[in-house]
C-alpha cells in the first residue's frame, strides 16, 4: 500500500494572516497508493493546509517536498505541474461545454489546423476509462450529468494530466448514498493504481469507510496522524474538539434545575416535516415559549440550514410551520421578522454587517425594515435604543457613529445581536454567535442569552462548541448529515459526552444499512476491504 518515501511531505508548516495564525507548525505526509483523510472542525486549518499544497497560499515557514524535491509554489500552476490535482466540493468544471472538452480543457490535442476534436475526445475517453467510465459519450454536454457523475469527470480530468496526487475536498456533500458508493469504488481503484489521494470530509462514516490513514488538525495545530484502524470514533471526535474523554464527561449542564414541563405546553413554534432538498431532510421540531433549544452537531450536519428555514432566510420545499397554532408561510426574512422571529447569521461578513454603515444604522436596520421606509424611527428613539444596547452588550468603542467595519469581530457580533434584540423578537435564533470572538465577549453574549430566556424569549442556540451548547440549552437537538437524529433534554448529569455518543452511534446503523461498512465491525474499526457487488463496473485490477 505505501511506498518507502512519501510523495508529499509537508513539515512544520506555518501560515499567518493579520491577526490570526491559521497554521502553526503542521506536519503532513501522503504516500502513493493510499487514501489519507484530513480532519478537523471549523477553523482547524484544513482548508488552509490544502491551499498551501495547491499553491493558493504561500507558506510563511516550513517546507514542502514533492516526490523528493523541495518545492516552492507561487501559484496554482506550479502545484499542477508538480502533479497535484484538486477536485473541489463545487465541481469546478464548466457545464456549458461537453464532457470530453471538460476533461481535456487546456490540454486539447492540436494540429496545424487547430484543435483535433477526434483525437481530443479519444484522449478524454482514455482518461475516463481509468475510472471505468469509458462508456460515456464525451460529446454530451456536461450539464446532462448528475453532480455525482460530474465529480467523476472532474477526477478523470486530473487523471488526464497524469496527476500523482489527487485532493478531494468535501466530494460527497451533494451525493446520495448510492452515489457515494460509486465514488468510493472509483477512489479505491485509483488508489490501487498508485495514486495518492487526500480526502477531506466531515462525514465520519465515510472517513472510516474509505481512508487508510487520518491526520487531525485542531486550531491550526497538528494533532496527530493515525492509521484509521487504530482510532475509534470517540477518540477521533475528542481529538477534533480538543477534550479528552474524561474532560468531556465532566462538562455538565448548569441549566436551571427547575425545568418546566414543556410537553404540557403548546409550543410557540411547531415545525412538521420541514425540509429543503439538498440541505435538510424533513424535520419535526417544537420550540416553546422562553425555552432555550440548542442545535448540536458536527460541521455540515444541517444546523444552519434548519435554522434558516425557521426564519424564512431560505424557503422550505416541504413541510409546514405553525406559530401560535396558526400556519405561517415563511418566504423571506421579512416574513420571519414580521412574525417576531429574528436570525443572527453565522456569516457576519457576507450576511450580517453592512460594512459602510455606522453602528447605529446597523443596529436599527431590522427594526426599521419592519416598520417600513415611510415610518422612520425618530432620532431620539434611535439614540435611546442604540445607547441601551451598546451599554448592555458592552460594545467597544461605545461610539454609535463609527463605521461598523472598523470594529473588531466580537464587537461587530454584539452590534448585530443588538440589531435583533431591538426588534423584540419572540424567537431569537443565534447561529454561531460566539465564533471568532475573544473570551470576554463570549461570556457577555452567553449571559445575554440566558437573560433573554428569563424574559420569556425563546432562543435557538447553534454552536460548534459542544460545551457551550450543553451549558446554555434546556433541550439539545442533535443533527447529523442533514437530518435531526435525536433530542436530549438537558439536566444535571447530561454532558457533552452524551451528545458525542448520539452522533457516533447514529452513524453506525445508517452506514450499515447503505452497505458502506459492515455492521459487525461497529464503532471501532474501518473495513476498507469491504465491498458489495454493485452495478458500476470498474477495471479488472480491482478485486
Amino acid at each position: 500500500m505505501s511506498e518507502a518515501l512519501p510523495i508529499v511531505e509537508m513539515r512544520d508548516i506555518s501560515i499567518e494572516f493579520p491577526g490570526v495564525k491559521a497554521l502553526d507548525g503542521v506536519d503532513f505526509r501522503l504516500f502513493q497508493g493510499e487514501v489519507h483523510a484530513l480532519m478537523g472542525e471549523n477553523g482547524a486549518g484544513k482548508s488552509t493546509l490544502i491551499k498551501a499544497l495547491t499553491g493558493v497560499y504561500k507558506i510563511d515557514a516550513g517546507s514542502i517536498v514533492i516526490a523528493g524535491q523541495a518545492r516552492q509554489f507561487h501559484g496554482t500552476g506550479d502545484a499542477q505541474s508538480a502533479g497535484i490535482s484538486t477536485v473541489y466540493q463545487e465541481v469546478n468544471l464548466v457545464t456549458n461545454l461537453s464532457i470530453g472538452e471538460n476533461v481535456m480543457l487546456g490540454h486539447e490535442v492540436r494540429s496545424a489546423f487547430g484543435v483535433n476534436w477526434r483525437a481530443t475526445h479519444k484522449a478524454a475517453t482514455e482518461a475516463l476509462a481509468r475510472l471505468g467510465l469509458e462508456e460515456l459519450d464525451t460529446h454530451q454536454q456536461l450539464s446532462t450529468l448528475s453532480i455525482a457523475m460530474q465529480q467523476l469527470v472532474a477526477i478523470s480530468r486530473a487523471m488526464a494530466i497524469q496527476a500523482k496526487v489527487l485532493i478531494l475536498d468535501e466530494p460527497t456533500s451533494s451525493l446520495d448514498a448510492a452515489e457515494v458508493e460509486g465514488l468510493f469504488r472509483v477512489i479505491r481503484s485509483l488508489r490501487d493504481q498508485g495514486v495518492a489521494i487526500l480526502f477531506v470530509s466531515h462525514f465520519l462514516d465515510q472517513i472510516y469507510a474509505i481512508s487508510d490513514r487520518v491526520t487531525i488538525l485542531r486550531n491550526g495545530r497538528y494533532e496527530g496522524e493515525y492509521p484509521i484502524r487504530e482510532l475509534d470514533r470517540h477518540a477521533l471526535i475528542s481529538k477534533m474538539i480538543g477534550k479528552d474523554l474524561s474532560a468531556l464527561s465532566s462538562l455538565g449542564g448548569n441549566r436551571r434545575v427547575d425545568q418546566r414541563d414543556y410537553a404540557a405546553e403548546a409550543p410557540l413554534l411547531a415545525a412538521k416535516g420541514l425540509g429543503r432538498r439538498g440541505s435538510i431532510e424533513p424535520t419535526d421540531l417544537d420550540i416553546h415559549h422562553g425555552e432555550v433549544v440548542g442545535f448540536a452537531g458536527l460541521l455540515g450536519s444541517g444546523r444552519t440550514e434548519l435554522a434558516r428555514l425557521l426564519y424564512g432566510a431560505d424557503r422550505a420545499d416541504e413541510g409546514e410551520v405553525t406559530l401560535h397554532g396558526k400556519r405561517v408561510d415563511l418566504k423571506n426574512p421579512a416574513d420571519g421578522l414580521g412574525r417576531r422571529i429574528a436570525f443572527s447569521t453565522e456569516n457576519r461578513r457576507d450576511e450580517g454587517i453592512i460594512a459602510d454603515l455606522t453602528v447605529r444604522e446597523n443596529m436599527i436596520l431590522a427594526l426599521q425594515a419592519e416598520r417600513g421606509w415611510s415610518r422612520p424611527i425618530p432620532r431620539k428613539e434611535q439614540d435611546e435604543l442604540v445607547e441601551k444596547y451598546i451599554t448592555a452588550l458592552n460594545v467597544r468603542p461605545a461610539d454609535p457613529n463609527r463605521l461598523i467595519r472598523n470594529l473588531s469581530g466580537g464587537n461587530q457580533q454584539k452590534v448585530l445581536l443588538g440589531r435583533w434584540l431591538a426588534t423584540k423578537p419572540e424567537l431569537l435564533i443565534l447561529d454561531e454567535p460566539t465564533r471568532g470572538i475573544d473570551v470576554g465577549a463570549k461570556a457577555e453574549i452567553q449571559e445575554a442569552v440566558a437573560e433573554l430566556a428569563e424574559d420569556g424569549v425563546s432562543v435557538v442556540f447553534i454552536s460548534s462548541e459542544l460545551e457551550e451548547v450543553v451549558r446554555l440549552s434546556e433541550r439539545i437537538v442533535v443533527l447529523k448529515d442533514h437530518q435531526k437524529i435525536g433530542e436530549i433534554v438537558n439536566g444535571p448529569g447530561v454532558t457533552a459526552q452524551e451528545v458525542v455518543d448520539v452522533i457516533a452511534a447514529h452513524g453506525v446503523e445508517a452506514a450499515a444499512q447503505s452497505g458502506i461498512i459492515d455492521a459487525e465491525e461497529g464503532l471501532h474499526a474501518n473495513s476498507a476491504a469491504n465491498t458489495n457487488g454493485h452495478p458500476l463496473d470498474l477495471t479488472e485490477e480491482h478485486s
Binding site: N96, F113, G114, E135, L136, D137, L536
Partner: protein, 351 residues
C-alpha cells in the same frame, strides 16, 4: 444508480440517408442544446423571407439578397465582435462610437493625402486601442464591463465630434472606395444580379476566422469556458485574464474593420454615425442564440441575427406603412422579447 449515457450503436443497421441525417441532427442537438436557439433564428429568417415574398414580392431574388449582404456587411462584423464579448459574459457598448471616430479620422486622413493602406491600418488600430483600454479597465481595474465600455463610447464619440461635426466626404478618387465597389458575380436579367463587394468578402472572412478561433483553438474554448464559469476556468488553469482582455481587443479591432467596410461603401463619415449600432449588434447576437449571460452561442447564429435585422429593415421599407422612426422601437422590442425568453429558459433550467 443510473448514469446518463447515449447508447452506442455498434451493430450496422441499414438506414436511409434521410434517417441518418435525422439521427445525426438529433445527436448534435442533444449534445449541444444551445444549437436550438440558433436554429430558431434560421427558421425566423426563412419565415420572414417567405412572408416578405408573399406580402411584397421580389424578395427572393438575387439583387435583394445581394443588397442585404452588402448593406449589412458592417453589421455582420459588429455582430461577430459582440459575440466574442458576450460569450464571456461581458458587453461592449462602444462599438458604434468607435466606428464614428475611426471613420471620421480615416476620411480626414485620406483626404489629407495619406497612403490609403496606412489609413485603413489606422482605422483598425484606433479600434484596437479602444478595445485594449476597455479590456484593461475591466480585467485589471475591476471596472464593470458596461461602465468601462460606456465611458469608451462617450470618449470615442467625443473625440469624433472634436475632429468634425459635419459630414466628411471621402475623395471620389480614393482607392479606399474600391472596397465598396460592386462586382457582378452572376448576371441575371435586368438588375437582378448577384453582386458582392470586397466589403462583403471581408465580412465573410471575418466570420470564417471567428468560427475557426472559437471552435478550433484553445483561446476560443477558453472564451466559452469563461462564460460558463470564470472561477472554474481559473481553477482549471486556463489563461483567464489574458483571454478576457483579448475579447475586448477583438471587439475593438473588428469595430475598426467594420468602420472600413462601412465608410468605403458609403463614402461619407460623420460623428453621429453608428448611434444605436451597439444595440443592433447586441440584438443580432441575442437573436442568433447567444445568451446574454455568456457561455452559450454561435457566431454563425449572430450572422443570421444580423441578417434578420437587415431583412426586417427591408420589409419595413417595403411596407411603407410603418414610419421609419419605429425601427429603433421594434429592434428594442425584439431584443427585449428575446432577452426575456432567455431568462425564462434559464430559470427553468435551474429549478
Amino acid at each position: 444508480m443510473t448514469t446518463v449515457q447515449t447508447p452506442r450503436v455498434d451493430a450496422p443497421v441499414e438506414e436511409s440517408a434521410l434517417s441518418k441525417i435525422a439521427a445525426r441532427m438529433k445527436r448534435v442537438v442533444s449534445s449541444n442544446p444551445s444549437v436550438l436557439p440558433t436554429l430558431a433564428a434560421i427558421v425566423i429568417f426563412i419565415v420572414m423571407v417567405i412572408y416578405g415574398e408573399i406580402a411584397y414580392g421580389r424578395i427572393v431574388q438575387y439583387n435583394t439578397l445581394s443588397n442585404l449582404l452588402i448593406n449589412n456587411a458592417h453589421l455582420i462584423i459588429l455582430a461577430v465582435a459582440m459575440t466574442f464579448v458576450i460569450l464571456t459574459g461581458g458587453i461592449d457598448l462602444s462599438v458604434g462610437s468607435i466606428i464614428a471616430l475611426s471613420s471620421v479620422a480615416g476620411v480626414i486622413l485620406a483626404n489629407a493625402g495619406w497612403d490609403p493602406w496606412l489609413v485603413i491600418g489606422m482605422m483598425i488600430v484606433i479600434g484596437t486601442v479602444f478595445g485594449l483600454t476597455s479590456g484593461i479597465l475591466i480585467q485589471y481595474f475591476n471596472v464593470q464591463p458596461f461602465i468601462a465600455t460606456l465611458a469608451m463610447m462617450f470618449l470615442a464619440r467625443g473625440l469624433a465630434a472634436l475632429l468634425s461635426t459635419r459630414p466628411e466626404r471621402l475623395d471620389e478618387e480614393s482607392p479606399i472606395r474600391w472596397l465598396g465597389e460592386q462586382f457582378k458575380l452572376i448576371d441575371g436579367e435586368k438588375v437582378n444580379d448577384v453582386v458582392v463587394t470586397p466589403g462583403v468578402i471581408i465580412a465573410l472572412l471575418v466570420v470564417l476566422v471567428a468560427f475557426f478561433v472559437l471552435h478550433r483553438t484553445r483561446t476560443g474554448r477558453t472564451v466559452y469556458a469563461i462564460g460558463g464559469s470564470e472561477s472554474s476556468s481559473a481553477l482549471m488553469g486556463l489563461a483567464v485574464p489574458r483571454t478576457k482582455v483579448l475579447v475586448y481587443v477583438i471587439s475593438g479591432t473588428l469595430s475598426g474593420v467594420a468602420a472600413v467596410v462601412y465608410t468605403s461603401r458609403l463614402g461619407i463619415a460623420q460623428n453621429i454615425t453608428g448611434i444605436g449600432w451597439e444595440l443592433d449588434a447586441i440584438a443580432a447576437t441575442v437573436i442568433g442564440g447567444t445568451l446574454l449571460t455568456g457561455g452559450y452561442g454561435y457566431v454563425l447564429g449572430s450572422v443570421v441575427g444580423a441578417l434578420v435585422l437587415g431583412l426586417m429593415n427591408v420589409l419595413i421599407t417595403r411596407d411603407g406603412g410603418i414610419p421609419p422612426e419605429m425601427t429603433t422601437i421594434i429592434t428594442g422590442g425584439i431584443l427585449l422579447v428575446f432577452v426575456l425568453l432567455q431568462r425564462a429558459v434559464i430559470s427553468k433550467r435551474h429549478t
